[in-house]
């Protein structure tokens, strides 16, 4: 195999798959990338058994072939390589030469026959989707992460489902302490199973890198894979199997008390409050009372702080407690000048909506004191 390609083009492709190939699996070869050259095009292929990437790029091909090379090292070489074009040349079995002239790398490759095969998926019915909105949906959902030893499927993955009677799809992400729910309108007929699908959050964060705002995006579901297509590149994410809990009760604000508040101001209060937080003491007390919220935090190791926010609130007094960091996380993803907090009692969650942002609903669970 021998080909020459625009360095930037290949570098960009490799940078998109670093998340996939750096994910350690039982199979060592998944940290490799498979490159094949044929008919004046090369194909870059990565597969970590959960997420699969394939991209096709134009190149000047001298001879056909397939190689399996360490993705990270190739990426690093491409990053530092100075010339416009780069030459990859398989000089003998399993040895490849990168570069020409003054700069030359001699790299050992793996046997490409051991590379996990691409899942056989054909006849995917794609629908086109607004890439800017879809990118935000993915961004919002990937703010809620999970811990290494997590086992709950609904925390490991996000739920993508259809809202009945409306031309909308919804992505729900949660770690059982906070939740985001993002709605997106679409026109074409997009088929999602009734109970929704669960896409792993690892795949979602790969998608976040994959989607570009100004490029057309198509999505589809087939054979237990969620598939996203962008021009010459495609990403396939293996779905998780399991049930998703009933979150609809939690985001229902019908019986809750709304409080309008300026987002920037509230965010500043939360940031100041979190200064005194520590691993052991992370809860701030929120005292909702007539025309104001009094937020206090007490950390026996450092001290305490208190702030009063003036709001339009005329209901009963409610004393509850939240983790201020959760508020900071959520407020940062709301695109709206003013927000509405919904509360009910000391044990009820706090539902947050942006006044000018009807796509996103967020929920934070309280801390019992």
């Amino acid at each position: 195999m021998k080909f020459s390609i625009n360095r930037k083009k290949l570098y960009k492709a490799l940078s998109q798959i670093q998340g996939i190939t750096n994910n350690k699996t039982n199979l060592a070869i998944t940290s490799d990338v498979l490159i094949s050259s044929k008919n004046s095009k090369i194909t870059v292929f990565a597969n970590n058994l959960e997420t699969v990437f394939e991209g096709t790029y134009d190149a000047e091909i001298e001879s056909d072939g397939i190689i399996s090379i360490n993705s990270k090292k190739l990426y690093e070489i491409l990053k530092e390589y100075p010339d416009f074009n780069i030459l990859l040349n398989e000089i003998e079995d399993r040895w490849i030469e990168i570069g020409e002239g003054n700069i030359q790398y001699h790299i050992v490759t793996s046997n490409y026959k051991n590379f996990p095969e691409k899942p056989l998926i054909e006849d995917i019915s794609f629908v086109e989707i607004n890439s800017e909105d879809f990118k935000r949906m993915v961004e919002v959902s990937s703010t809620i992460s999970f811990l290494i030893d997590e086992k709950r499927i609904y925390v490991l993955g996000v739920c993508l489902e259809k809202i009945n009677n409306e031309n909308k799809i919804r992505m729900v992400s949660t770690d059982s302490k906070k939740l985001t729910c993002f709605d997106l309108e679409y026109k074409d007929d997009f088929i999602i199973p009734d109970k929704g699908i669960i896409i792993p959050k690892k795949g979602i964060s790969e998608l976040n890198k994959f989607i570009e705002k100004d490029k057309k995006i198509k999505i589809g579901i087939k054979n237990n894979y969620f598939i996203v297509k962008k021009n010459n590149e495609i990403i396939m994410i293996k779905l998780l199997e399991g049930g998703y809990p009933d979150y609809k009760k939690i985001i229902n604000t019908d019986t809750m008390i709304p409080i309008e508040i300026n987002k920037a101001m509230f965010l500043m209060v939360m940031k100041r409050m979190s200064i005194l937080c520590s691993e052991q003491y992370k809860n701030a007390i929120f005292n909702f009372k007539e025309n104001g919220i009094v937020v206090t935090i007490t950390n026996p190791e450092i001290g305490e702080s208190k702030e009063e926010i003036l709001v339009d609130y005329l209901d009963k007094n409610i004393k509850t407690s939240f983790n201020t960091r959760y508020f900071i996380d959520i407020l940062n993803i709301i695109n709206s000048e003013n927000i509405i907090l919904y509360i009910k009692n000391k044990k009820s969650p706090c539902v947050i909506k942006g006044i000018d942002d009807n796509k996103l609903i967020s929920v934070i669970m309280p801390i019992s004191i």
């Binding site: 609904y154 949660t174 059982s176 302490k177 939740l179 809990p245 979150y247 939690i250 809860n283 407690s321 983790n323 044990k347 969650p349 929920v363 669970m365 309280p366 801390i367 019992s368 004191i369």
Partner: protein
């Protein structure tokens, strides 16, 4: 009754130093008066009760007085918890299996252990000691260190303080003790042991450095059997012999103990008297009647201990956030596993559940001899808990807590046997 002062011995009496003790004490006393803050010189007392358990039993039952008795479990597998001085004459010592003790002297009287009585007496002793100084460090149920540095003006010389303590314990509790007085902690302990029982041993500051050199290495706290073997090879008999070796060699041979011994040999002991703080943990454990591998037996024991611990916690209005289990095997090796909890709990069921979770991941291929649970991270207030969106663990635990509290009330009113877990019947 022997007068408490009779037992006073100054170490130079034993070591054949020429001076009589009285003038010496006076000089030292003067010294303190002149320069009370001089250097880091301290006065440490080590109070050690004489044959504590058996003395209490002999006190409470005059028939046992002057007879060889031991306190220990009544089962065949029991060991001697304590032996009276009369029994010690027959070579019976604590931690010896009871059947062996009986072999040594068949006429031995075995008295069952009454933990609560000993603990109560111990508390009374500590209460007396605390009247002399707040710096009382209880080492075990029957011994304590006292730091009386700077108390001389208030309470008299350290000799008088020691005599006074001894007198009061004798008068109020009819028990005798041995007291060691020294400028450093480890010497105080050695001193109290030197002329046991019923004796006060004083090592004066200016003699301490000389005295240290003569201390038998076996008597030094921290030197165990393994170390003694090594000492024999190195021909170390006294602390003075330690000085023949460099710190580097000692560290290589004995690790941290070597470093400690090196300092001890120069009469340096920087450990401070740590007064007992708040209660840190509660534990409950039993040695099984027969070694077992049966999971059911283990579970049943866990349930039993969880009940005891839960009741103790609720009685004292405590919550725990840390649970650990302990298993000892028939080869006397033991393992402990612990877990930090997200919730503060006090219900027996929750403790039981957590202990089962801890053992679930263990591979046990030896017979179990002892089973125990201990709870720590105690506080009177529940720690704030992040409520979960979909799981109601907290609610479940709260419900069990209510049930357990009701059971406690019923047990208090009608006796502890009236209501029980069915498996524990």
């Amino acid at each position: 009754m022997q007068d408490a002062t009779c037992g006073i011995k100054f170490f130079y009496e034993n070591c054949n130093f020429p001076q009589p003790f009285f003038p010496q004490t006076l000089i030292y006393y003067e010294c303190i008066k002149d320069k009370p803050q001089q250097g880091r010189s301290k006065v440490i007392l080590h109070v050690d009760m004489d044959a504590f358990f058996t003395s209490i039993e002999q006190r409470d039952n005059p028939e046992l007085k002057g007879k060889p008795i031991i306190v220990g479990g009544l089962s065949k597998r029991g060991v001697v918890s304590a032996a009276s001085y009369e029994a010690r004459k027959f070579g019976i010592y604590s931690a010896m299996p009871i059947f062996q003790a009986l072999k040594k002297y068949p006429g031995l009287i075995v008295v069952p252990v009454n933990k609560n009585k000993y603990a109560g007496t111990s508390q009374k002793i500590m209460k007396i000691l605390k009247q002399y100084t707040p710096l009382v460090e209880p080492v075990s149920i029957d011994e304590a260190f006292l730091d009386i540095t700077g108390c001389e003006r208030l309470l008299g010389s350290h000799k008088n303080i020691a005599i006074d303590i001894k007198k009061r314990i004798k008068k109020e509790l009819f028990l005798t003790c041995s007291i060691g007085v020294a400028p450093v902690k480890f010497l105080a302990k050695i001193a109290s042991d030197m002329n046991k029982p019923n004796c006060i041993t004083i090592i004066e500051k200016h003699e301490a450095k000389k005295f240290v050199l003569t201390v038998d290495i076996k008597k030094v706290p921290g030197v165990g059997e393994k170390a003694i073997k090594q000492m024999k090879i190195l021909n170390i008999k006294t602390l003075g012999d330690i000085n023949k070796f460099s710190l580097k060699i000692l560290y290589k041979k004995f690790g941290k103990l070597g470093e400690k011994l090196f300092k001890f040999a120069q009469c340096i002991d920087n450990s401070k008297i740590k007064p007992k703080g708040k209660r840190k943990s509660i534990s409950s454990e039993t040695t099984l009647a027969n070694d077992t591998v049966e999971m059911e037996v283990v579970k049943k024991n866990f349930l039993y201990h969880a009940q005891i611990l839960g009741e103790k916690l609720r009685n004292k209005n405590f919550f725990t956030t840390n649970i650990s289990i302990k298993l000892k095997f028939n080869d006397f090796s033991q393992i402990t596993r612990q877990k930090k909890l997200k919730l503060s709990i006090c219900s027996s069921s929750a403790i039981y559940k957590e202990s089962l979770n801890l053992i679930k991941n263990l591979k046990i291929n030896k017979k179990i001899r002892l089973i125990g649970i201990s709870v720590s991270g105690l506080s009177h207030k529940k720690k704030p808990v992040q409520i979960d969106m979909f799981e109601q663990t907290k609610e479940k635990i709260d419900k069990w807590e209510k049930i357990d509290k009701t059971i406690d009330c019923i047990s208090k009113k009608f006796g502890s046997n009236i209501i029980k877990k069915a498996t524990l019947k």
